[in-house]
């Protein structure tokens, strides 16, 4: 690209300096706040005041932090789900629907099975059932992708809308199994007490946060050390190499997508054993599934970094929620605007991590 007498080139870096790995996300966050600030200023809100309040409510107090950790718990799971699939170039963007199905499946287990199980087994069984139903929801797109090469992008997404209507049907449309039979108010039937976890003290953080973080650490380690982790990364980098080396691409693709679905389902299940205790349409309002994709992309599909970004995003959401209860309420959607903007900037910024910007003076040949 030429600008006047200067020539601007992007040259690939062989190695990126360590500080750039942190600088890109932090810089993106900063730029996103500026964009958000512009929109806030245009709508008659004070950008500095709003962001100060947002950070204060999301991170600065004990209550803020524990609320944030509670919100981060399912977000870590959907973030891991997206990261696990995206790093293999499998773009499962149906985490939202898989999470709903996880909620439905775990609530079913919590109502129907938990009563027959010994106390210590109830919660694990409920969580696992949620993970399985989440995986089941991605089965059709996964088989299509693995066997016939059909793009998983649109198919996984379309199922989000189906899942959304399914939850609405169970709670609002029918008086069936998942609906609380004791009241005419449309709400979910509460699961057995043995299948529920209580939060730490008076906070809104549940023990499931330990499972979520443990999963991140475990996945990080497993995908680095195991044969499976190696094979999937070869397949992602070069399908042909994987084929020549005799790896089973169909099986690997299928397993990656199913496990991604299971992680997203687990997010829904954690919501059930934790704060909700039932099929709760409230989950449909939060958008953890879509946010998980942003979290994963911002973390550059690194499982450990997913935990950090998920906590950061949960803080933005918690802070955003508290902005609505002020004299000049700021719509909570500012949090979504920030998420989208962060991701856009991070994608652009990634180029400057991978490439060096080189500006050279071009010799003008006079009189030629």
């Amino acid at each position: 690209m030429n600008v006047g007498n200067w020539r601007v080139d992007l040259e690939p870096r062989l190695t990126s300096p360590k500080w750039l790995y942190a600088a890109v996300p932090i810089g993106s966050l900063f730029c996103a706040f500026i964009v958000g600030g512009v929109f806030l200023a245009f709508t008659g809100h004070s950008p500095i005041g709003t962001f100060a309040l947002l950070i204060d409510r999301g991170f600065a107090s004990t209550r803020g932090i524990t609320n944030t950790l509670g919100t981060a718990t399912p977000l870590i799971c959907t973030g891991l789900a997206a990261a696990f699939a995206f790093r293999m170039n499998l773009f499962n963007i149906g985490e939202e629907g898989q999470m709903y199905l996880g909620m439905i499946g775990s609530a079913w287990a919590g109502i129907a099975l938990a009563g027959y199980l010994p106390g210590f087994a109830a919660v694990p069984v409920v969580l696992l059932t949620g993970a399985c139903t989440g995986a089941l929801w991605v089965l059709v797109p996964a088989v299509l992708r693995a066997k016939m090469g059909t793009s998983e992008i649109v198919s996984t997404l379309l199922l989000n809308y189906v899942a959304l209507n399914l939850v609405n049907y169970f709670i609002f449309g029918s008086r069936g199994f998942f609906r609380d039979p004791t009241t005419s108010f449309p709400q979910g039937r509460v699961i057995e007490a043995s299948a529920r976890l209580s939060s730490f003290g008076s906070t809104r953080t549940y023990p499931t946060v330990i499972i979520a973080v443990g999963l991140a650490v475990g996945l990080y380690w497993f995908m680095k050390r195991s044969n499976y982790g190696y094979e999937t990364s070869v397949l992602a980098d070069s399908p042909n190499t994987a084929r020549y080396a005799g790896m089973n691409a169909t099986k690997l693709t299928l397993s990656v997508l199913l496990f991604s679905g299971a992680l997203a389902g687990l997010a829904g299940a954690m919501y059930v054993v934790g704060p909700a205790g039932k099929v709760d349409p409230g989950l449909l309002q939060v958008g953890f599934g879509y946010a998980g994709i942003v979290v994963a992309a911002l973390a550059r599909y690194n499982f450990m970094a997913v935990v950090l970004t998920a906590i950061l995003f949960a803080g933005l959401r918690e802070g955003g929620a508290s902005l609505q209860i002020s004299t000049n309420p700021v719509p909570i959607s500012i949090a979504v605007v920030l998420q989208g903007a962060v991701l856009l900037f991070a994608l652009g910024g990634e180029v400057f991590r991978r490439n060096r910007l080189r500006v050279r003076r071009v010799q003008q040949t006079v009189g030629a």
């Binding site: 198919s155 189906v162 949090a335 979504v336 605007v337 994608l347």
Partner: protein, 312 residues
């Protein structure tokens, strides 16, 4: 006879199809150049909220249609910069656009949430033609934009298949290196068509609000129409004229839940019926993925691949 509910449903299907055709053609132009823009849903939402806000502020229906075009082009410019100049992952960039558009349309639409739509695009009266039995309401009962869209699809098809720029466009999607060797800038072709595509998607969103919407409510506006349009691109095998047929078909599945509800036909609960358009789309995608169907499709060969001259 023209008040028959199924005639009206078909008329509505043709009407809804306008949004689908515009968005699909926008996506076809983008994808033919080799860029994949998944941000359709976000652009539709931004187009819709822009149309509403401009209509609310000015009361002018044409301004309310024009501004969404500019907004759509601007959003596509973001996508083009990220995916062409900065060579970012196009899939993730498109998703980011959806999330950004989703949040921003909610944010700037908050003050008018629940307000009824300020201006309306009215159907043009074609006199006796509109009164014809059955075809009257279905074919001759629409507004100017719908007719322009049909003409637009034909023009777009001619452009792709019968003009030199159209040939270059197709070549850019299939063999950018060849285009580059001819001395044509691949980046420019991709930029131009991504932005035109975005403008059409913006118009699709704006028109949908003014012609089909009632009140502004972000959650209930597009409801995944953008994703259906992306599936339609595959269904239409990247050809504009086939997009019309597909759009009417999908328009029908989008309209049927409302008809059934309005007629109190309760074969299935409404929540289940509302799954229909998405399940139908998925079903079509499954059908299209058989090896035999794939041969007939012909996706642009370098779809989603950034072009770097040195790397050849």
């Amino acid at each position: 006879m023209n008040a028959n509910v199924w005639v009206l449903t078909f008329a509505d299907a043709f009407s809804i199809a306008t949004t689908l055709i515009l968005a699909t053609i926008g996506a076809i132009l983008t994808e033919r150049s080799g860029v994949i823009n998944l941000g359709v849903e976000g652009i539709l939402l931004m187009g819709a909220v822009t149309a509403f806000l401009v209509g609310d502020a000015t009361g002018n229906v044409w301004l309310a249609l024009l501004l969404p075009v500019a907004v759509g082009a601007a959003m596509a410019l973001i996508h083009a910069t990220l995916s062409i100049t900065l060579r970012a992952n196009q899939i993730v960039a498109g998703l980011a656009l959806v999330i950004f558009g989703n949040g921003l349309s909610q944010f700037i639409g908050k003050p008018v949430e629940g307000k009824t739509r300020p201006v309306v695009i009215t159907p043009i009266d074609l006199g006796p033609l509109t009164d014809l039995p059955i075809v009257g309401p279905i074919i001759f009962g629409h507004d100017p934009i719908t007719y322009l869209t049909w003409v637009g699809a034909v023009v777009c098809s001619l452009y792709l298949n019968r003009t030199r720029p159209g040939l270059i466009l197709r070549a850019t999607g299939d063999a950018p290196a060849t285009v580059d060797a001819q001395g044509v800038s691949v980046a420019r072709v991709r930029f131009v068509h991504t932005i035109i595509g975005g403008a059409l998607m913006g118009l699709a969103g704006g028109w949908f609000m003014l012609a089909r919407g009632t009140a502004w409510s972000q959650a209930a506006t597009t409801n995944g129409i953008g994703w259906i349009a992306l599936a339609l691109v595959v269904f239409a095998s990247w050809r504009p004229l086939r997009a019309i047929a597909g759009a009417v078909l999908f328009g029908f599945t989008l309209q049927v839940p409302f008809t059934l509800q309005g007629q109190q036909i309760n074969i299935l609960p409404p929540e289940i019926v509302q799954m229909l358009p998405y399940l139908a789309t998925l079903f079509v995608l499954v059908m299209l993925s058989t090896p035999r169907a794939r041969k007939l499709l012909g996706a642009p060969k370098m779809l989603g691949q950034p072009f770097v001259r040195d790397e050849r």
